[in-house]
Symmetry: C2
């Protein structure tokens, strides 16, 4: 059977399974999550052995240390996966409840009910943990999911897929609720992207190359962010101590995350604080690239920022720095070079803050907070399937609600329209 | 200048104007709505004269009576347009308010703010009223809009576009907030559908041909419904009087609307009530097409329903009728043949009602109510830009909220991530 036909069969089965999981009760879905946890516990050795096969393949393919780290499952990581399943089971049921029921002038009651989206296509790289994390969120929200991980993790993902199937089956649900694509053929990705009849939403997680390919080829709506070029703007009315603390944290707390600051914008009136901040960042090992004005103010910045720097997500200990006149300039810079992900203003002026919060058009806009807080768990969503920089459906960190739709519920007692 | 270049220039200008209108206050946007109303009042004769030119062209092109009626502007219809502008101005501002601000364990406050989507592309046919109605909703929600009406209404739309520009300009806003495409070239539609860099959402309104073309060609997300194949299911536990009333109203109150019932499903236990209902519908001039069982029970149904009838939106005084065993059968029929628009169950059994409300996967699911209530005004939305049968972003009747996005707002006082 060719890959296109095989994928269409998976899609068809997923669509059928999505109806079963949508009509399952919250208790049944939670029971399946716990049964999956138990299946992982029961198969830890086999899972770790499969992961070892992936790691060995990775070593012989010369994967770099960062990728190898992402690929690795350890007993501690399996502990975290198992704990995650229990946490997702403990979250409130996102579907099935009728809310906002209101009596209209005609006498009918109109409200809404959250319902599952249907079938999710997850396309991801490296981290086999995603197989279970994504499946658990899709299942909790009443969806079926097709999981297509990277070829480098195929042994781990296949073994984790068996645990998913075993747990689902034990809870009396079709195993097609969560299907791991069993082949490494890249055409499987293309198939997922071109089956809108079977797949309602594609969630890609991985490097820029993957996201770009998915965005360009997909006939199915995509929930994703391409870049995280996040900005901190230190306003002329900023408290310098807070500004220093926030900028330092936003850059150095972790380098490889999408909510890490990549460009620092500083109001000219704050020139005096820049040299100290530059020194602290350089002491931490951060390379600074500055505009002419920032280099004049802080000569320790020895590298000129090029035009390309303003639109680069370094994901590394590198930071571009630009002096601006005021909040308007800062917002113009963000509108031109930003990626609509996360921006933060540091200021004690409530009017300036308000203007920034209102006019900056990003998924997360912050005031006196490190950009590193842009995260589903930090926002109290309980979980995160991804971060979206699109403006439709879901935006910013996306939790269970982003995996649902809603429908109108209308109740009456024989009401007819006049 | 070729049409593609001209449209790209409109798109670029709309994007710039969308920033201006997004940062305008609610008072400014309302002032523009009232100024547009005044511009229409001041130009009623010119608008009616332009409409007369369209009507004359329509007559010589042999447009049918229904299309001619949709095309016509009258003093009464201009009254309604003007009144509509005041009503939209009086609606609560859908954007700019921060809601749900909650303190997280880390100490940060997280909430959301509704924001405009950006630029809307309206593609529609016949009714020139849509030019003003759609522009007013887009403007109220802080968006720019590109309006592409049908060639048959080009004179009316151009004149109404002048009123839009005059009102915007009087209120100090860029005229590019609402641009009417000034040419009838069909390539303009293709251009709108392929400029995701300038247009964030396409809303098509018109016949099935238009919607299908838009759905097939668009690179921009589309908010639409292709069909309205709405069902009423009369359950074995229905109150016969309510069932009769609802079914009669759902079919006959208006024939050409998308929320009109097209298929009636009747539980076999309710056979006794069918002949009377058939008689009442036939007396009203409705043609009935039935399954074998319904024809046996109600021999006045003289036409056999074909397989194609179950998936046909008649938009006419025609109704297909099918007998089913029970609610499960009815839901299976709806899942197979429905268009995810609006379905209603008539029953006095709360458990059956609950199951139907939960499991039927349509934009509106109703209990003891006529399907004709599926409407933004009836749902208290204050306005309606369209009805969506898609499950992402907005579903069912779509009001101002469907023309907005939201972003996360995060506030702190120097908070950093540990």
């Amino acid at each position: 059977m060719d890959i296109q036909t095989a994928m269409a069969e998976m899609g068809y089965a997923a669509r059928a399974a999505s109806r079963a999981v949508a009509s399952a009760s919250g208790e049944q879905r939670n029971a399946a999550l716990i049964a999956i946890r138990e299946a992982i516990t029961a198969n830890r050795e086999a899972i770790l052995a499969a992961n070892e096969a992936d790691l060995e393949q990775g070593r012989s393919n010369g994967l770099d240390a960062a990728l190898m780290d992402r690929l690795a499952l350890t007993p501690a990581r399996l502990d975290a996966l198992e704990e995650g399943l229990s946490q997702v089971a403990a979250l409130p049921d996102p579907i099935g409840v009728i809310t906002d029921l209101q009596r209209m002038p005609s006498g009918i009651d109109v409200g809404t009910m959250r319902v599952p989206l249907g079938v999710i296509g997850m396309i991801y790289e490296s981290r086999p943990n995603v197989t279970v994390e994504a499946a658990s969120l899709c299942l909790k929200a009443g969806n079926a999911v097709i999981l297509r991980g990277g070829s480098e993790a195929i042994h781990s993902n296949t073994k984790l897929g068996e645990a998913l199937a075993s747990g689902l089956s034990k809870a009396g649900m079709p195993v097609e609720v969560a299907q791991v694509v069993p082949v490494v053929d890249r055409a499987a990705v293309g198939a997922i992207l071109t089956m809108p009849e079977y797949i309602d939403l594609v969630v890609p997680r991985g490097g820029k190359g993957l996201i770009e390919r998915v965005a360009a080829e997909s006939k199915v709506p995509v929930l994703a962010h391409l870049d995280g070029i996040c900005h901190v703007y230190i306003d002329s009315d900023a408290d310098c101590e807070k500004a220093h603390r926030i900028a330092f944290n936003a850059k150095t707390q972790r380098y490889g995350t999408c909510n890490t600051m990549e460009t620092l914008l500083v109001a000219k009136a704050q020139s005096a604080m820049l040299p100290d901040l530059v020194m602290a960042l350089q002491a931490e090992g951060v390379e600074l690239r500055g505009c002419a004005e920032s280099r004049r103010v802080a000569p320790a910045i020895t590298i000129d920022a090029s035009e390309a720097d303003w639109s680069t997500e370094y994901l590394a200990p590198i930071l571009s720095v630009r002096m601006v006149n005021d909040v308007s300039d800062a917002m113009a810079h963000i509108a031109q070079y930003g990626s609509d992900h996360t921006e933060s203003i540091v200021t004690e002026n409530p009017e300036t803050a308000s203007r920034f919060l209102r006019e900056v058009d990003s998924g997360s806009v912050m005031h006196n907070v490190s950009t590193r807080f842009a995260d589903g768990f930090e926002y109290g969503l309980g979980a995160e399937i991804g971060i979206s920089t699109g403006k439709l459906h879901a935006r910013g960190p996306v939790g269970l609600e982003g995996l649902t739709s809603r429908k109108y519920i209308v109740k009456g007692d024989g009401h007819i329209r006049q």
